[in-house]
């Protein structure tokens, strides 16, 4: 078993939480893990990414080679495209369609969506909208994690446990909202796969 994952987004969108949840679930299953994060400068509204590698064998490099990522998980559509050189030929892109508009020259939304629709394997969903329906706009990142969960080759319950663990200090209300967000994202992907 091996999953090489690029997590992408803009500083402050919560990709480190996604990494922490997948990481916790992986360790819980006795898997090896390496996770490279970006700290510092790029946090101020710049693009951020994290290389997350999970395997049942020892992992050598902290960085995923180009063309070898099984998944690109992005909480922002433009950021999903930034890391395409890493995607393997049978890899999937899971992305939110909600743009984060903090630059003056953000591309035309139609053209951007065209590029996403051109990808061989993708799931695209408005995670913000789904999170709002659940009543917690903040959990958009967890919706995306849920949408990615069928591709993670991990037991779903382990992800739920990891959410309980990571949000332990924030109380039951936050935990249950995030579990709901996880499920909503997962169901979106499952529906798409079966239609």
């Amino acid at each position: 078993m091996k999953r090489d994952i690029i997590l992408a987004g803009v500083g402050g969108q919560g990709i480190i939480s996604i990494a922490a949840i997948i990481g916790t679930a992986a360790i819980d299953q006795g898997l090896h893990l390496k996770q490279s994060e970006v700290h510092g400068m790029s946090q101020r509204g710049g693009d951020v990414q994290s290389n997350l590698r999970i395997s049942d064998k020892m992992i050598a490099s902290d960085l995923i080679p180009y063309g070898k990522a099984d998944l690109i998980i992005s909480v922002e559509p433009l950021e999903a495209l930034r890391y395409l050189p890493y995607l393997s030929s049978d890899g999937w892109v899971i992305t939110s369609t909600k743009p984060f508009l903090n630059i003056p020259d953000y591309p035309d939304m139609e053209k951007l969506m065209d590029e996403i629709r051109k990808l061989p394997h993708y799931v695209a969903l408005d995670a913000d909208e789904i999170a709002k329906e659940i009543g917690t706009a903040k959990a958009a990142n967890i919706v995306i994690l849920g949408a990615s969960s069928p591709f993670l080759e991990m037991q779903y319950e382990k992800l739920e446990d990891a959410i309980r663990f990571i949000f332990k200090r924030k109380g039951d209300e936050v935990i249950s909202k995030n579990l709901e967000a996880l499920k909503a994202g997962r169901e979106f992907t499952q529906k798409q796969m079966h239609s």
Binding site: G23, P65, Y66, E115
Partner: protein
């Protein structure tokens, strides 16, 4: 013992705590900051009264640690690579004084300049000072090397340099802990003149240091961090340093490299091991993240003898961080690539937060300077350096911490009047104060903005050593009271701020303008913490 999921930085901190650390000294700097922060947040450290508050700069940190080592305790100094330039004087001389209690200096290099102004390689500094260098391959080795480093430092009475790079510093993996050790007791050096570098003593100590080099090489030959792994195909031998080893293995999924491999984790270089590779193999490939330190010393000035491939002959790019693909190409393997980035892609550079106090400061400054020819604002390093970008384009320099005030003074000396300096509060006490003294003593026509957001924001909001002291420092340095102004960088005070800045630009001496408003990110954090504490059951 338990397995923890730790950043490379955190592994070093945990290693130090478990190896009997008594005090850690540092000034923040990406990618080294998390080492000290880990100790600051550690319950274990609080219980054991381990010192961990921030120092004013890397030089004070290095010297304070040297003092703790003098007193016989184990200590660590942490900095980003350019911090070692600031601490260079005590660092280089500490090799001559030697250590008493275990002393480890951690320098975190930043190849590819993810958040730095250069990609200098601290191994050069280690070599220059003639101290042993440790360079971990992964988080576990980073942890283990701290224990080893303290033993080495105390046994050979020498400071040890631990060199890491951004990738290891900010990557997480499982780490197994060792049993914790007790701190050292207070114990002064046997020779109370060990640290007195008067020429007569220094000469003797320097000769000792030179003599010790042979011993250090012997240690490197037998160190478990240096490994010679033979391979059947002798057409190539690979010398691979630190984290580069992982990129090599990544290209052999079963971890079976067909060539002899020498993995380096401890310097000075193990000469005999290298000799073996040199006589066994037809060519040598050197893989090192950073400068071609090993490659250069192997190749020598004339490059005669065996062919040595690496950064110098173009087998590996001359600059930037290594990765598995670069190593694959260097090995003559086929490169891999996913899909091209679509042409609609645009950059998303970091920018000042909306609501940032620096924005109001730049707006006021830009309005006043609009009347003068461009190109007179010397800036420094911090969030406000982002004022170089659109839409502000407010600054004309960023070189090293503290260079704003001094460069403005130099330009004023040359006739660029008025000259303006822009410096953050934390940078001011790091190394702006001495430049201010120069300007005051020369009555230079400079206007100095000390942007006081109450924190060291750029590196994540650490306490600023300048907090509450700036006006007193300026007065103490001799800036006239009438030319020190505290402004409120807010829209509603814009007109008033513009007026004051205008007046001070005309004044032909040193003026200090202090726009003061807290960083909104630290306010946010403070409020959240307060809320959390208020909610907690009592």
């Amino acid at each position: 013992m338990q397995r923890l999921l730790l950043l490379g930085d955190e592994a070093i901190a945990q290693g130090a705590l478990d190896a009997g650390l008594s005090g850690i000294y540092a000034y923040p700097g990406t990618p080294s900051t998390e080492i000290t922060e880990f100790v600051q947040n550690s319950k274990q450290a609080r219980q054991d009264h381990i010192h961990s508050t921030w120092s004013a700069n890397e030089k004070t940190a290095m010297e304070t640690a040297l003092g703790m080592s003098y007193a016989g305790k184990r200590t660590m100094v942490c900095m980003k690579h350019v911090g070692l330039n600031v601490a260079a004087d005590p660092f280089v001389n500490s090799a001559i004084t030697g250590a008493n209690g275990g002393l480890i200096i951690v320098a975190a290099d930043d190849p590819s300049m993810h958040s730095s102004q250069n990609e200098q390689d601290s191994r050069f500094f280690g070599k220059f000072a003639m101290v042993p260098i440790l360079e971990p391959v992964d988080q576990q080795e980073a942890y283990d090397m701290v224990h080893y480093g303290y033993d080495f430092s105390e046994q050979h009475k020498i400071p040890v340099l631990l060199r890491i790079t951004t990738r290891l510093a900010h990557s997480r993996a499982g780490v197994k802990r060792k049993d914790p050790r007790k701190q050292n007791d207070l114990k002064l050096p046997e020779d109370l003149r060990q640290f007195v570098l008067l020429p007569a003593i220094a000469r003797k100590r320097y000769r000792n240091l030179l003599k010790a080099q042979e011993l250090f090489i012997q240690e490197s030959e037998t160190s478990s961090f240096n490994k010679y792994m033979d391979g059947p195909d002798k057409s190539l031998g690979i010398i691979v340093c630190g984290i580069a080893y992982n990129y090599l293995l990544e290209n052999y999924p079963d971890r079976n490299v067909p060539y002899p491999v020498l993995k380096i984790g401890q310097y000075p270089l193990p000469v005999k091991m290298i000799e073996r590779m040199y006589s066994d193999c037809k060519e040598i490939l050197v893989l090192e993240d950073g400068y071609p330190v090993v490659e250069e010393s192997l190749k020598g000035l004339l490059g005669k003898g065996l062919k040595v491939k690496g950064r110098l002959d173009g087998t590996v790019p001359r600059d930037g961080e290594l990765n598995p693909n670069i190593v694959a190409v260097a090995l003559g393997m086929e490169d891999t690539f996913g899909l091209p980035v679509p042409s609609i892609m645009v950059n998303r550079p970091p920018s000042l937060c909306s609501g940032c106090p620096h924005i109001d400061s730049f707006k006021a400054l830009n309005e006043v300077l609009a009347l003068l020819p461009k190109g007179r604002v010397f800036s420094d390093i911090g969030c406000y350096t982002l004022g170089a970008l659109k839409p502000y384009e407010a600054i004309n320099s960023c070189v090293d911490m503290g260079a704003s005030i001094t460069m403005a003074k130099g330009a004023a000396d040359a006739g660029l009047i008025p000259s303006v300096a822009v410096i953050g509060d934390s940078t001011f006490t790091h190394s702006g104060m001495t430049g201010l003294l120069d300007a005051v003593n020369d009555k230079s026509p400079v206007t100095i903005f000390i942007l006081d957001n109450g924190t060291t924001a750029m590196t994540g909001g650490q306490d600023s050593p300048a907090f509450g002291k700036i006006e007193a420092i300026c007065k103490g340095m001799g800036v006239e009271e009438g030319h020190i102004h505290v402004l409120r960088p807010l829209k509603k005070f814009h007109e008033e701020n513009v007026r004051i800045i205008n007046e001070e630009l005309i004044y032909p001496g040193v003026s200090v303008i202090i726009p003061r408003r807290e960083c909104i990110v630290t306010i946010d954090k403070r409020m959240r913490d307060k809320f959390k504490n208020a909610e907690a059951p009592v």
